[in-house]
């Protein structure tokens, strides 16, 4: 009799398992549809990243270049039609980040034939009220400053065209000064951090968590209860082949899912991949590491659960806190101080963290060793527990 082929048996299980996963609606929903829906929602709602809500005071002149430039700035949302009391109320609550008023100053021809402004020093006066309730006023401040500079440069250039001599030199020097200001401004906008850059790694992490925990727990519990594993044991297959085959299938499925999510995020919503394909490969490697740790939870749950209906409650105890507290949707820096230590225990926090560093900051795997170390510790702990709780029959 020929030597029994353990690799062949492992691959046969992996193939069967992958087929089964692809036909199982719940795994496809959790791994692909669920994260994609969140990415779509955040991709469309928060496409431009941070939104600054600015109230427009009554009587504001809207036919000037400053207002038009503000309208074209995607991260600013102008709220028109509010009266002064409600503007003030919203500003004090922080639901508006700033209130804007633009007054047009009229030119009149004076006696010596020159044009003079009736009031102020510029054709337009921009009054902005900020609020201590919102930190986003700072963003608006820098935007409005930039717009003002740009408008002034255009104005200067127009003025320049009609002048000569010393006046022209002075105006040119002034214009050059504005140009320098513009350079400084461009370094500021270069750090734009899009919502998708935050949301996508979180969703990817959550997708891996659900595939790892729910998928693994359900499959091993149901294979145990329906005696599929017992029937397997009547063949020469080794236990390691069963575990490896199942793990392999889940890793393949998750890699396909992760690649899908990353590519849709990148091409449809401009998800930042600093080093292109290298970044993608790093993210996929992180996905595999994360999935292996999460599968440890899955093995443990399948051992603890008595039947299929007790899997979701136990699995949810593991996944929900991580879903909410691991920076899937919000940066954990925004959480209250007492909650942050809890967040900093959870493995998904470190996977999300590593993913974001790799994707957005262009870090290599060598730069996220701290996160990988924490994941490794979790892996050792959870597999120790899994070995003790896992049941074959």
């Amino acid at each position: 009799m020929s030597k029994y082929n353990h690799v062949g048996a492992t691959l046969a299980i992996a193939k069967a398992s992958l087929r089964s996963i692809l036909r199982s609606p719940s795994s496809v929903v959790f791994t692909l549809a669920f994260p994609l829906i969140f990415i779509l929602v955040f991709g469309f709602i928060g496409g431009g990243g941070v939104k600054v809500d600015v109230g427009v005071a009554p009587g504001t002149d809207t036919a000037n270049p400053i207002y038009k430039a503000l309208e074209q700035t995607s991260i600013i949302k102008l709220h028109k039609g509010l009266d002064t009391p409600s503007l003030n109320q919203n500003l004090s609550k922080g639901s508006l980040d700033a209130v804007l008023q633009i007054r047009s100053n009229n030119y009149v021809k004076t006696g010596d034939g020159k044009m003079r402004l009736t009031s102020g020093n510029a054709p337009y006066t921009v009054n902005v009220n900020y609020t201590t309730s919102s930190a986003k006023g700072e963003i608006f401040k820098s935007i409005i400053t930039n717009i003002k500079n740009e408008v002034n440069i255009k104005f200067m250039q127009q003025v320049l065209a009609g002048r000569s001599g010393g006046d022209a030199d002075a105006a040119a020097r002034a214009a050059a000064g504005f140009q320098m200001a513009e350079v400084r401004e461009s370094t500021m906008t270069g750090r734009a951090y899009k919502t998708i850059d935050f949301i996508l790694p979180g969703q990817l992490g959550f997708s891996l968590l659900s595939t790892g925990v729910f998928g693994t727990a359900f499959v091993f519990l149901s294979l145990r209860i329906t005696l599929v594993i017992k029937r397997f044991f009547a063949t020469p297959v080794k236990r390691a082949s069963i575990v490896l085959g199942e793990a392999l299938a889940r890793i393949c499925f998750s890699l396909i899912g992760a690649l899908f999510i990353i590519l849709i995020g990148h091409f449809a919503f401009g998800f930042t991949l600093v080093h292109g394909a290298v970044t993608v490969i790093n993210m996929l490697i992180l996905s595999v590491i994360g999935l292996i740790v999460f599968m440890g939870f899955g093995f443990t749950v399948s051992g603890i659960a008595k039947n299929e209906s007790s899997v979701p409650p136990i699995a949810n105890i593991i996944t929900l806190p991580q879903f909410l507290l691991s920076g899937t949707f919000f940066s954990i820096d925004n959480f209250p101080a007492w909650l942050q230590p809890l967040s900093r225990i959870l493995p998904l926090t470190y996977l999300n963290d590593a993913m974001r560093k790799v994707a957005f900051e262009g870090a290599g795997l060598g730069d996220v060793t701290h996160q990988l170390l924490v994941l490794l510790i979790w892996g050792v702990v959870i597999y120790t527990v899994a070995v003790k709780t896992f049941k074959w029959e």
């Binding site: 009799m1 020929s2 029994y4 082929n5 062949g8 048996a9 691959l11 046969a12 299980i13 193939k15 069967a16 398992s17 087929r19 089964s20 036909r23 199982s24 149901s222 294979l223 329906t226 005696l227 599929v228 017992k230 029937r231 397997f232 044991f233 009547a234 063949t235 020469p236 297959v237």
Partner: protein, 253 residues
């Protein structure tokens, strides 16, 4: 028939804590026969079977299957036997062809799924899921999975429980065909008419012990010779014969 033992069980004991499920059982199964393990529920039939199949550890005793000891050569035994478990399911979401493919991989051999399904008349169900099959089809499919590795012996644990009379007869034909092709069959059943039709020899198990082992004919003859009489007048046919007569022998689904 030349009586060549292919399975020999000597002084098998299995304890679950204080409970003695199997108490010192010894018997032999001869090559090429259909051997029946009969007895009430909880008698220890399935436990005995699973120990021979290397699925369960024994407390003590010696078991040799086709020349290999369960203690030292479990893997060689697994390669030589086919096992059908009572109430076992199959990998979810796969169709019959894919399940055969999976088992071929598990046994490390390549078999054409359609050929295996043809042996049990399920080629038209190749793309169906196991869950969608009727009771008889499920059992036939289970038997097909036991034949993938060209086993020397197959073990069938209550294969006809819950089947209608047609499906039962159909399965008998299949089992006899397998025996005739040279495979030894070990079967458990609660149906004595079935054991009488199918089994070359039977062992009665009760309370973890073998209380009798012989051919069905000899058992009946001995009982009659001891002066046994049926309470009811013996008729030339049974109600099951009526069932088959009225509903036809061809089988459905």
């Amino acid at each position: 028939m030349e009586k060549q033992p292919i399975i020999s069980v000597k002084n098998l004991v299995k304890n679950y804590g204080d409970f003695q499920a199997v108490r010192d059982i010894s018997f032999e199964v001869y090559e090429g026969e259909i051997f029946g393990l009969l007895g009430p529920n909880g008698a220890g039939k399935t436990t005995t079977l699973e120990i021979i199949e290397t699925l369960r550890d024994k407390t003590s005793g010696e078991i040799i299957v086709d020349g290999f000891s369960v203690d030292t050569d479990a893997e060689s035994i697994k390669q030589r036997i086919g096992v059908q478990l009572q109430a076992a399911g199959y990998y979810p979401n796969l169709n019959l062809s894919e399940l055969i493919e999976l088992f071929s991989g598990l046994y490390g051999i390549s078999k054409k799924p359609l050929e295996m399904l043809e042996m049990v008349a399920l080629t038209d169900k190749a793309k169906a899921k196991y869950k969608q099959l009727s009771g008889g089809q499920k059992q036939r499919f289970s038997i097909a999975t036991t034949l993938i590795n060209n086993p020397r012996i197959i073990f069938l644990d209550e294969p006809t429980t819950g089947l209608d009379p047609q499906a039962r007869r159909n399965l008998w034909d299949l089992i006899i065909k397998i025996r005739d092709s040279g495979t030894t069959v070990v079967i458990t059943t609660h149906y004595m008419d079935e054991a009488e039709v199918l089994c070359d020899r039977v062992a009665f198990v009760d309370g973890g012990k073998i209380v009798g082992i012989d051919t069905p004919d000899n058992f009946v003859d001995k009982l009659v010779a001891s002066g046994f009489e049926r309470k009811k007048e013996v008729k030339a046919a049974t109600l099951e014969d009526v069932f088959i007569d009225l509903t036809g022998k061809e089988w459905r689904g």
